[in-house]
């Protein structure tokens, strides 16, 4: 089966839906019209651009190009994770932590999958490496961002409680244990939800794409199962890394809670 190619006209028809939504928002004063239009335009530009980049990448296939492309994706993911936080860690350390967690959650897991499970030769073959890494980065980003945001916010809001526990002679791990467990749970919610709903409520995007592209349903399903496992494991390890690194930064060597390391919340 060949894929039915979409024309520019088909896409602009879909875009009018979004414009209609923006118009409604303007009429009833929801205040989201600007955001809708900008993010729609941004998404279109980004995807068209990446289409061109992938075309070159697939034709060339050199390790260096794949490496540069994945590094760029990683840095953007790290930046976005930090940008989602209400109270960010001060200085470059915040970027290092979010990028480091994304590295753990996606790079390491993608490498493992490409070399061991998929076993494609060479392992950096762009047709496999880039989509796989993209899926992992995009999905684990949610979990890592949610848990990081929750951690810094909760530590700030519950500083009295954390300090009370320190005063009673608890270590920083005990004093922040409840908060860290909660953040772990929050970080895992998106992937646990999508695993629970997979196949019943929703057909996951990657599988849908493969089926539309002409793969047999069973092949598509197997890839989807693989990617779900990878995302779940990646999210888990990424969240653990982020929570550990961030909470380490929030306590000093004498196990005092130091919220000076957090930036102030922007006034709304």
């Amino acid at each position: 089966m060949n894929v039915i190619s979409l024309s520019a006209f088909d896409l602009s028809l879909a875009a009018t839906l979004l414009l209609a939504l923006a118009f409604c928002s303007l009429k009833i004063g929801l205040g989201i019209e600007r955001q809708i239009v900008i993010s729609g335009l941004r998404m279109t530009a980004q995807l068209l651009l990446v289409g061109l980049v992938l075309k070159v990448l697939f034709a060339n296939g050199s390790f260096l190009l794949v490496f540069v492309m994945s590094l760029f994706m990683l840095l953007v993911a790290g930046y976005e994770v930090r940008a989602r936080q209400t109270r960010k860690l001060r200085g470059s350390v915040g970027y290092f932590i979010s990028t480091g967690s994304m590295f753990v959650s996606s790079f390491s897991v993608a490498f493992l999958a490409l070399t061991v499970m998929v076993g494609v030769d060479p392992w950096y073959t762009p047709q496999y490496a880039i989509p796989m890494l993209g899926m992992l980065l995009g999905n684990t980003m949610n979990g890592v961002a949610l848990s990081s945001d929750r951690l810094t916010t909760d530590m700030y809001n519950q500083r009295g409680m954390v300090e009370q526990r320190l005063l009673l002679g608890q270590s920083w791990q005990e004093a922040s244990g409840d908060i860290r467990r909660d953040c772990m749970r929050v970080g895992m919610i998106p992937i646990v939800n999508s695993m629970a709903a997979a196949g019943i409520v929703s057909l996951p995007g990657m599988m849908t794409g493969q089926i539309l592209g002409g793969s047999s349903p069973m092949d598509a399903v197997k890839y989807q199962i693989l990617i779900m496992f990878l995302i779940a494991a990646g999210t888990g390890f990424g969240v653990i890394t982020a929570i550990w690194l961030i909470s380490r930064r929030l306590f000093d060597d004498r196990q005092r809670l130091v919220l000076d390391n957090l930036m102030q919340q922007k006034q709304q």
Binding site: G160, L168, G169, R254, Q255, R256, L257
Partner: protein, 206 residues
């Protein structure tokens, strides 16, 4: 009189340097204008606030102890207390109901063992304050840092708290730094009283 706690050139934020020798069994009063840094002074001694200078507990410097050990031995009771379980009981550990000192404190401060089943969300300010004091006292700290420990209590309960602390000091079980705005209370309790200002501790004669 042997020294329980030595504070040498303690500086924090833009305050200090403060120096103080607290004798074993002494209850030392601290007074000072609101917002001058009395609570921060106690937080620095308890080592939950970054500071310069040294605190020494019976010849052991703070830095040579783990922060957990230090805070158990030099225990701060803040005016506002925090609780993280739903009921009172779990905050005191399972064996506490068999601890005679714990039961004694509960009774003196107007509670019975039933209080262990109470919901934290229903406690009044004064109840929280008394329970918070008990929570620290049962760990048998060598130095008590009390930050306005009777601010939410009526006269009768305040007198009980004063008596419990005075008793510990008399028996040399604890030494105490007591922060209060109530000069009469400080005169009753303490041998020495100090006015804390931004630069130093100035002895007051009440």
């Amino acid at each position: 009189m042997p020294t329980a706690l030595t504070i040498q050139n303690l500086r924090f934020l833009s305050n200090g340097p403060y120096s103080l020798d607290l004798a074993k069994g002494e209850c030392c009063g601290i007074n000072g204008a609101s917002g001058i840094g009395k609570s921060q002074f106690l937080r620095a001694i308890a080592d939950v606030l970054a500071h310069e200078g040294e605190c020494v507990l019976e010849s052991t410097p703070c830095l040579s102890m783990s922060p957990q050990d230090w805070r158990k031995k030099v225990a701060l009771v803040a005016p506002e207390s925090f609780w993280w379980y739903d009921t009172v009981g779990p905050h005191f550990g399972v064996e506490s109901a068999d601890d005679p000192y714990f039961c004694h404190l509960l009774e003196r401060l107007g509670f019975s063992l039933d209080a262990l089943q109470w919901q934290i969300s229903r406690l009044s300010t004064g109840e929280r304050q008394r329970l918070s004091l008990i929570r620290t006292l049962i760990t048998n700290p060598k130095v008590l840092l009390l930050d306005e420990p009777t601010s939410g209590l009526d006269r009768k309960m305040a007198a009980e708290v004063e008596d419990i602390v005075a008793m510990r000091c008399d028996k040399k079980e604890s030494s105490c730094i007591w922060v209060s705005h109530d000069l009469e209370q400080l005169a009753r309790l303490s041998g020495r009283c100090f006015q804390l200002n931004r630069e130093a501790l100035v002895e007051m004669f009440l």
